[in-house]
């Protein structure tokens, strides 16, 4: 299982863009109204910072996954204990992505279809791609679907541009101030924090020297598009309404009408949403399965799918309401725990320890 630089780029892009675009913008608008795009810009910069941290850390051990090098750095037992928060995150994140993609289909297309049917269908597909294709299969899907996602997003932005009013962006900054803009950016960071999952992926790169620049580019493209998207949402719906909408960018897609006959293009957006959800879900489930196998020293990692997939399904079915979970999940789980501990705290700790212990580990690693 090896992935190329190009594949990594499209994986990063298609996993980060859609959810951030849909949900983070409205969360930022609650705090910063017309300055939500500044929040998203800050979130993008912080996202790039996180990328820098985790790639630099991973590149100290280019042949090892996160589960392996945490043990190399901290020793066998401490290294294993440090993985526990990640284990919780993997399982939980998978279930939320699954739940959310099913919710989206449920809300936009199939209001009478039971939720679990949509979930099981999606899950079967995901299990198939993991079991049959492994990481290489997922990466190839990303390479195929990523460009489509990009084209549809650019097309949506282009078609929405006929009734934009840039006046809605003014006054810039004075109304909200740093405090609210920073607060608004946190939810963006929460979505970009997903990138921590890639610490399990870099070890599979055919040319690991490219990892930093490619991940940076993928994140930068995402961040720029999200900033553009949030500006467009504000220019379409004004400073107040986006904060009250479930997914303002999708609302904007539904609003497209060019010359009275290019309408209802939102169905294209539903398709790329499913593409993104599929790649995200299969990659994250693969990581959860593969990471758990490495963590427990199980040789045949594929067996664990049959354990992980049902757990994911059950957890995904727990929340009752269709639109509330994603926002509450970000507010209650991701911002107070996952971002400070999993995304920043532990990687930083590992990096510091690794730098302090220095060259000897790396040399030993190379000789292995």
């Amino acid at each position: 299982m090896q992935i190329s630089g190009k594949q990594l780029f499209w994986l990063v892009f298609s996993i980060e863009i859609v959810l951030t675009m849909l949900y983070a913008v409205s969360a930022a608008a609650i705090e910063a109204n017309q300055d939500a795009w500044i929040s998203m810009l800050l979130a993008g910069l912080m996202g790039l910072g996180i990328v820098f941290l985790i790639v630099r850390l991973s590149m100290r051990y280019p042949q090892q996954t996160f589960v392996q090098y945490s043990q190399t750095i901290l020793g066998k037992w401490a290294g294993k204990i440090v993985i526990i928060p990640y284990f919780v995150m993997w399982v939980y994140l998978n279930s939320m992505v699954l739940r959310n993609s099913a919710d989206f289909v449920y809300l936009t297309l199939f209001t009478k279809t039971p939720l679990y049917v949509i979930m099981v269908t999606l899950l079967i597909l995901v299990i198939y791609v993991i079991a049959a294709g492994g990481l290489a299969g997922i990466a190839r899907c990303g390479e195929l679907m990523g460009p489509i996602i990009l084209v549809v997003i650019l097309g949506t932005c282009l078609l929405s541009s006929n009734h934009l009013d840039w006046h809605h962006l003014t006054p810039v900054f004075i109304d909200s101030g740093w405090k609210h803009i920073m607060k608004g950016s946190i939810s963006g960071v929460a979505f970009y924090g997903d990138i921590i999952m890639f610490t399990m992926i870099f070890a599979f790169m055919s040319n690991s020297k490219q990892a930093l620049s490619i991940t940076m580019w993928g994140m930068a493209l995402t961040a720029v598009l999200v900033v553009v998207a949030s500006m467009m949402v504000i220019m379409t719906f004004g400073p107040i309404l986006p904060a009250r909408m479930w997914a303002p960018f999708f609302g904007m897609t539904r609003f497209i009408s060019v010359l009275g006959f290019i309408q209802n293009v939102d169905i294209l957006f539903v398709i790329i949403w499913l593409f993104s959800a599929f790649i995200k879900l299969s990659l994250f489930l693969f990581i959860a399965v593969y990471g758990t196998a490495q963590w427990l020293n199980i040789k045949n990692w594929r067996m664990l799918i049959w354990l992980m997939a049902p757990i994911t399904l059950v957890l995904a079915l727990l929340p009752q309401n269709a639109t509330a979970p994603i926002k509450e999940y970000v507010q209650q789980m991701w911002i107070p725990y996952v971002i400070p501990i999993n995304v920043i705290g532990i990687p930083l700790l590992l990096w510091i320890v690794s730098v302090m212990r220095g060259q000897s580990i790396q040399r030993k690693d190379e000789s292995n």
Partner: protein, 388 residues
């Protein structure tokens, strides 16, 4: 080994086929009644009367059909929009589908009581698009208007939309603009007004603009002429005509204006006294000269221009005064103050309706008469009557 694998594949395939048939959400077009227009009224007992106009599929597309038979209207009542809609369903043989709804009519009685209780459904339901026209019915009820037939359109629902469109606006942005103004801290929302004319062939007439306060209650009507001035001040008007009265003459002069522009300059002193200067610009083309003036003369043109600008600014001032008296900022003054004095706005916004009422407004109109047509003096006048 390979046989087991093959068996697994077949199993998966069969399960998938069972799952993806999608029977739950099957919606056949010929089992549905499409709603093209929707009406809401307030009944005397305080409940809502919803009415829906359905096109009759068999009659559509047939150009021979006499107008008026191609649609029918059904009403239902209840204490909420959705309840009324469910009551309505009991009278229709097919499941209704609101995804194609382009027009919502609201009776003035309901509008005076306030729209906040019914407006939510129009943006919450995922089936419905935000791109909807919404009109206030003055003088009769929405249900009455929906049951009228309209000679020019196969589906009468389109008549509302197109009458509104012909007046030079983008009708499908109406609901969004209403919601945006209602949510904003500066502005009050407006909606177009339509009335029924039971004695005329056309049956419908675009009447003007309805002004709402911050509680989404209808507080004031503006005629089309006044509504146009509001649009001009907001910078949303494309063109209009002005009739100029020359005091020394008997007839009048008609000028078509286009390339309209608006500039709003605001100032606020330390006692929160607001001064607003509205500069309205336009290019004018003289269309009709019913006076004795010879318009080959520059001095006459200058005179017409001065009278036109003075009369227009007086009229604009009068309209602004009337709106100020109601304390409903539909002119975009609050937006202008917010953008030009963002720091002071933080204080001003707390009592903006009062500040808006007390603001001193100065209006400057600069219409440039660029073209006066192919004739100088009016052709229809005797030579002795022409004044240079």
């Amino acid at each position: 080994m390979s046989q087991i694998k093959l068996g697994w594949r077949w199993m998966t395939l069969i399960i998938l086929v069972l799952l993806i048939t999608g029977c739950w959400d099957r919606r056949e077009l010929n089992n549905q009644a499409l709603i093209f227009a929707w009406g809401m009224d307030l009944k005397d007992d305080g409940s809502y009367l919803a009415s829906a106009q359905f096109p009759i599929p068999r009659e559509l597309g047939d150009s021979e059909t006499a107008a008026g038979k191609s649609s029918f209207t059904i009403t239902g009542s209840g204490n909420s929009v959705y309840e009324a809609a469910k009551d309505l369903q009991t009278k229709v043989s097919r499941a209704w589908f609101a995804g194609h709804r382009r027009v919502i009519l609201i009776g003035d009685k309901l509008a005076k009581k306030g729209l906040s209780n019914i407006i939510d459904e129009y943006s919450r339901n995922p089936i419905v698009r935000l791109r909807t026209d919404i009109l206030i019915v003055k003088g009769s009820t929405a249900a009455e208007l929906l049951s009228l037939s309209y000679p020019l359109e196969q589906v009468p629902a389109n008549a509302f939309f197109r009458i509104h469109e012909a007046a030079g606006t983008t009708p499908d942005l109406t609901l969004l603009k209403f919601l945006m103004a209602n949510a904003s801290e500066e502005s009050c929302p407006v909606l177009p007004v339509i009335t029924a004319q039971f004695d005329s062939n056309s049956k419908l007439k675009l009447w003007g603009t309805a002004v709402f306060n911050k509680e989404t209650k209808l507080v004031n009507y503006l005629t089309l002429k006044k509504g146009m001035i509001v649009q001009w001040v907001k910078g949303e008007l494309d063109g209009a005509i002005r009739t100029v009265k020359i005091p020394s003459e008997e007839g009048n002069i008609v000028v078509e204006i286009n390339h309209l522009s608006t500039k709003i300059q605001t100032s606020a002193d330390e006692n929160d006294n607001i001064r607003i200067r509205v500069v309205l610009g336009a290019k004018g083309v003289l269309r009709e000269n019913n006076t004795h003036l010879d318009l080959f003369q520059t001095k006459n043109i200058t005179m017409v221009k001065e009278y036109m600008n003075n009369q227009t600014s007086t009229e604009v001032k009068r309209v602004i005064k009337e709106i100020q008296a109601h304390g409903t900022d539909i002119l975009g003054f609050g937006v202008a103050v917010h953008r030009q004095h963002p720091q002071q706005w933080k204080e001003l916004k707390k009592e903006w309706p009062q500040h808006f009422q007390q603001a001193k407004v100065e209006v400057v109109v600069k219409i440039n008469l660029e073209e006066s047509g192919m004739t100088g003096p009016s052709i229809g006048q005797k030579k002795s009557e022409i004044r240079s």
